[in-house]
């Protein structure tokens, strides 16, 4: 178990390092000079040079990269090109907003998808199953960004029930959470349904039934304990999706989270800020994966006791 944790930690560190390195070079190797973007059009070269010096983008790439790494090693993520805010605190302030949105959405999705998916799996092709699948097909076909705008149009602009943008109390959560839940539940409900149907067909369920165990025990213990294992992976994948999808949802609802920050930073070519958001996203993401793996091992003795 300890060896497993250590190995995974090393692997995570490697992935994060790879991601930030890639990001560092990708954003610098393409045309588009941040200095030029910051100054008004027509600014003379001499002034631009000064700006470049200030930003540090005049130095050779390798120098910039080494500076970046040594800064990072000291826990300093630099300051934003725009307004000089420290990147670390700006990014870390935005993280709780994103996590709250994601966690609430994931929790609601799971609370809806599990009971409904299990109920549907009891009678495949029955009316409940068909209705569930039809609903999830439609939800799956509805792009989150479109849905978000439509919900905002209807409930925020026309009906004025909920605010359309920003985070000002629980009411602000309703629309972005609804959008995320509607995009998340189809996949999860299908996964739950499939895992339960497949597990119900397993030999050990048939054998347990042959022992005269009650249907309640079969579903509550034998099927659920096994079917839950692959679902952990799905939930982990979805958590990742929430993190990635946050960019879009957050920009629609102008949510003060890390996704919105990333998108702004990209459009402003704010190098330190892009690096910071990508780094933190990668860290959060790998941590989620790590916990998924741990849960997996805890639930499945075949993995744990290998």
């Amino acid at each position: 178990m300890l060896a497993f944790a250590l190995q995974r930690t090393a692997q995570m560190a490697l992935v994060i390092f790879g991601v930030i390195t890639l990001t560092f070079f990708a954003i610098r190797l393409v045309p588009g000079d941040p200095a030029r973007l910051m100054e008004p059009p027509g600014t003379p070269e001499s002034v631009l040079d000064l700006t470049r010096q200030k930003l540090g983008t005049d130095k050779p790439l390798s120098r910039q990269y080494l500076d970046f790494l040594s800064q990072l090693a000291r826990g300093d993520m630099g300051t934003s090109f725009r307004g000089g805010r420290p990147v670390a605190s700006t990014v870390l302030e935005s993280v709780p907003n994103t996590l709250a949105l994601g966690a609430i959405s994931m929790a609601i999705t799971t609370l809806v998808a599990f009971p409904l998916g299990i109920a549907a799996s009891r009678k495949p092709n029955g009316w409940l199953d068909r209705a569930t699948l039809a609903l999830s097909s439609i939800a799956q076909a509805t792009p989150g960004f479109w849905l978000g705008v439509m919900l905002a149009l209807l409930f925020a602009v026309n009906l004025r029930w909920f605010p359309a943008i920003g985070n000002a109390g629980w009411k602000s959560y309703v629309l972005p959470v609804a959008t995320l839940v509607i995009s998340l539940f189809p996949l999860q409900i299908r996964a739950v349904r499939q895992a339960f149907i497949e597990t119900m067909g397993e030999g050990f369920v048939r054998a347990a039934r042959a022992r005269g165990l009650s249907e309640r025990r079969l579903l509550g213990v034998h099927i659920t304990k096994v079917a839950a294992i692959p679902l952990i992976t799905i939930i982990g994948l979805q958590a990742g999706y929430v993190l990635g999808g946050a960019i879009v949802i957050e920009s629609i609802f102008n949510w003060p989270g890390i996704g919105n920050l990333t998108l702004q930073a990209i459009s402003q070519r704010d190098f330190p800020m892009i690096q910071g958001t990508v780094l933190i996203t990668a860290v959060v993401f790998t941590l989620i994966n790590f916990f998924v793996d741990l849960t997996y091992a805890a639930l499945d003795p075949r993995v744990r006791l290998r």
Partner: protein, 658 residues
């Protein structure tokens, strides 16, 4: 579920059809037509695709032509709209319908192209990883893991954000690269499983090159599995493509795209909501259509997901009169004229046909037959554990005088375990993998109120010790996967014996075990029978094995009993040509001392067809004209020894009314 003998031809037909190279894709196309919803989805998608491809011919206007005098025109059905611009115009006076059609064009071309990029990369890497294995395999798959372990949208956004001019090719590549892992994994696992199958091995043994085997046997199966995956992937790309253009990272403007029309629409939502709504609907319809088609294909490839595994319903028809008349006190189990069907689209499989047999208290009856003979199906039917859609359609299964086929679900649940126990072929798959042996024993002990409190553990230990398990405490703590096959099967028997059933059905209980373990297990079963007077119905393909343990032997072929009688007479004097061949095959094996020979030339019959004559006729060495047209009657030769064959219709034998 690999080659489960309890599932009759429905599944084996499907999988063996896949083995015959070319027809698999065509079969898929043929079967999709029987599914209305999926076909509708496929047709709608093809229609959208056609409109998209023919946009330059169909569109009423130029996609980029601005007409500032005509900007913000409403759609035709609103006040002030007209049919020159059916869906109205955008802020630059461009026709929205035209832009939607061109949007479909770029969206679908990019998405389809991306699917092919991903498919191509995935196919190559999957094939290489699967065929060469080793270091290459590990590296490629680990690379895939890492890619999957990171939210790709973020990468796509970063890469596209920094590309100054985004063409169709950029988008195809970026999207395509994101999905290779999915394909590679499927291809790899297919290659691994296909290359180990007999036909691929055989082909390689006769010198067919690796790539020939690949092309002939592996690829057709791979293609088939790819269809639903590629469709779902396509649907996903349509959404992602529009998302990217929505956040201005798709095709560089002014090229129309569904996402960018949406984004334009968003700015003018108050003035003209249609501009925002229409592209959204276009995306929803397209993605929904693709999704429905994908579901249909997935369903064809894995019908279990819509069928479910176990859906028992008691038989409602009344019992045949003959059954009631024949009832006798002496027999524990009386199977009377039982028929079992598996309805299927390709034709109902008549797995068991008019089978009757008896098991007396403390008796061991053996059922022998090849896979597909219906022997395992019969065993499951007695337990009322048939997989959907199989069901008993006629006859009666009398256990202690009560009909199991007509018993309520509740009653049946009481009989299972307590009245009748069952041991299955694959012990590794019969124990719950994530519960300890101790837990599973305690659970059964509690369910039967066989002990309580501290007594549970004592009883659990005793029941393992009774199966000659030397170290019961270790086994109690173990998970099933930590035990050997023989040990797992002992645990299964211990579990079954806790409730002290009167009848134990054993479906090939020793087939998965080595010879030594097999012999030990048989001895243990024999002592159980002696001690508890448990009756046994022992199902096996091996008549030599049954000769060791059973006192009566029933031979099944094509779902029918073709011969039955006391062990000694059946073994010493087999009557039916099929039984003779079975025993002959055993003797040949004994003589050769190794390799089990294919018992009898020819294939088992297609159980969807009910032939008029003898089911064995196509393979019978002694076949006569009559055999093809007239069903052979059941004839009693010696006391209790019956055979269904025309050879014995001599005046001396007595025909039994069926």
């Amino acid at each position: 579920m690999i080659a489960d003998p309890t599932l009759p031809e429905t599944t084996t037909v499907a999988s063996s059809a896949g083995a015959g190279a070319q027809p698999s894709l065509r079969r898929l196309m043929g079967e999709i037509r029987q599914r209305k919803v999926a076909t509708a989805g496929l047709l709608v998608f093809l229609a959208i695709l056609l409109i998209a491809l023919l946009a330059p011919l169909l569109a009423p206007h130029e996609p980029l032509k601005q007409n500032l005098g005509d900007n913000f025109l409403p759609p035709a059905w609103k006040d002030g709209g007209d049919w020159t611009y059916p869906f109205g115009t955008d802020p630059l006076g461009r026709d929205i319908l035209t832009r939607l059609m061109y949007g479909a064009r770029s969206s679908l071309i990019i998405s389809i192209g991306a699917v092919f990029v991903g498919l191509a990369i995935g196919l190559v890497t999957g094939l290489v990883a699967g065929f060469y294995g080793g270091f290459l395999d590990t590296t490629l798959m680990r690379l895939g893991d890492i890619q999957l372990a990171f939210p790709f949208v973020l990468f796509a956004i970063a890469i596209l954000a920094v590309s100054p001019n985004r063409t169709v090719w950029h988008l195809m590549a970026v999207l395509g690269i994101s999905s290779w892992v999915i394909y590679a994994r499927v291809v790899r696992s297919r290659v691994l499983s296909e290359r180990n199958k007999d036909y691929a091995r055989a082909a390689q043994a006769v010198g067919a090159s690796r790539w020939r085997v690949l092309r002939r046997y592996v690829l057709p199966n791979v293609w088939q599995a790819m269809v639903p995956i590629a469709l779902l992937n396509l649907a996903y790309f349509v959404v992602v493509e529009s998302l990217l253009s929505f956040i201005a990272l798709g095709l560089s403007p002014p090229n129309p795209s569904w996402g960018s029309i949406r984004a334009d629409g968003r700015q003018y939502m108050m003035v003209d909501p249609w501009m925002a709504l229409l592209p959204g609907f276009a995306i929803v319809i397209t993605v929904l259509a693709i999704g429905l088609a994908a579901d249909g294909f997935a369903d064809i490839l894995d019908p279990k997901l819509t069928q479910g595994a176990f859906q028992r319903q008691p038989l409602t028809s009344s019992m045949p009169d003959s059954t009631i008349a024949e009832e006798s006190e002496n027999d524990l189990l009386q199977v009377r004229n039982v028929c079992i069907d598996y309805p299927a689209k390709s034709g109902t499989v008549h797995a068991v046909r008019d089978v009757s047999l008896d098991v007396a208290p403390a008796e061991v009856v053996g059922i022998v037959g090849e896979s597909g003979s219906g022997k395992s199906t019969l065993g499951l039917a007695i337990m009322q554990l048939l997989d959907a859609p199989g069901r008993v359609t006629d006859g009666a299964l009398l256990f202690e005088g009560a009909d199991l086929a007509r018993a309520s679900n509740k009653r049946m649940n009481q009989i299972r375990g307590r009245g009748i126990g069952m041991i299955f072929q694959d012990p590794g798959n019969s124990l719950n993998p994530v519960l300890t042996v101790g837990y599973q024993l305690a659970e059964v002990i509690r369910a039967n109120r066989a002990a309580s409190g501290d007594g549970i553990r004592t009883l659990a230990r005793q029941s393992l010790a009774a199966m000659n398990i030397a170290d019961p405490d270790r086994v109690l703590r173990a998970y099933p996967f930590q035990l050997s096959g023989g040990m797992q099967q002992r645990v299964m028997i211990a579990l079954a014996m806790i409730a002290k059933p009167r009848l134990l059905i054993l479906d090939e209980p020793t087939s998965a075990l080595d010879v030594t373990t097999q012999a030990q297990l048989l001895a243990e079963l024999e002592s159980l029978r002696a001690e508890h007077r448990t009756s046994m119905l022992f199902i096996s393909h091996d008549i030599a094995l049954l000769a060791q343990i059973a006192s009566r032997i029933v031979v099944m072929y094509a779902g029918q009993v073709i011969e039955s009688g006391p062990r000694d007479t059946v073994v010493a004097n087999p009557l039916h040509p099929y039984t003779r061949a079975l025993i002959g095959a055993v003797e040949r094996v004994d003589a050769a001392g190794e390799e089990r020979l294919e018992a009898i030339a020819g294939d088992p019959p297609d159980l969807r067809i009910v032939q008029p004559g003898c089911p064995f006729a196509p393979r019978c060495p002694l076949v006569m004209d009559r055999c093809w047209t007239v069903a052979p009657p059941r004839i009693a030769r010696e006391p209790g020894h019956e055979v269904a064959c025309h050879l014995y219709e001599s005046p001396g034998s007595k025909e039994i009314a069926a």
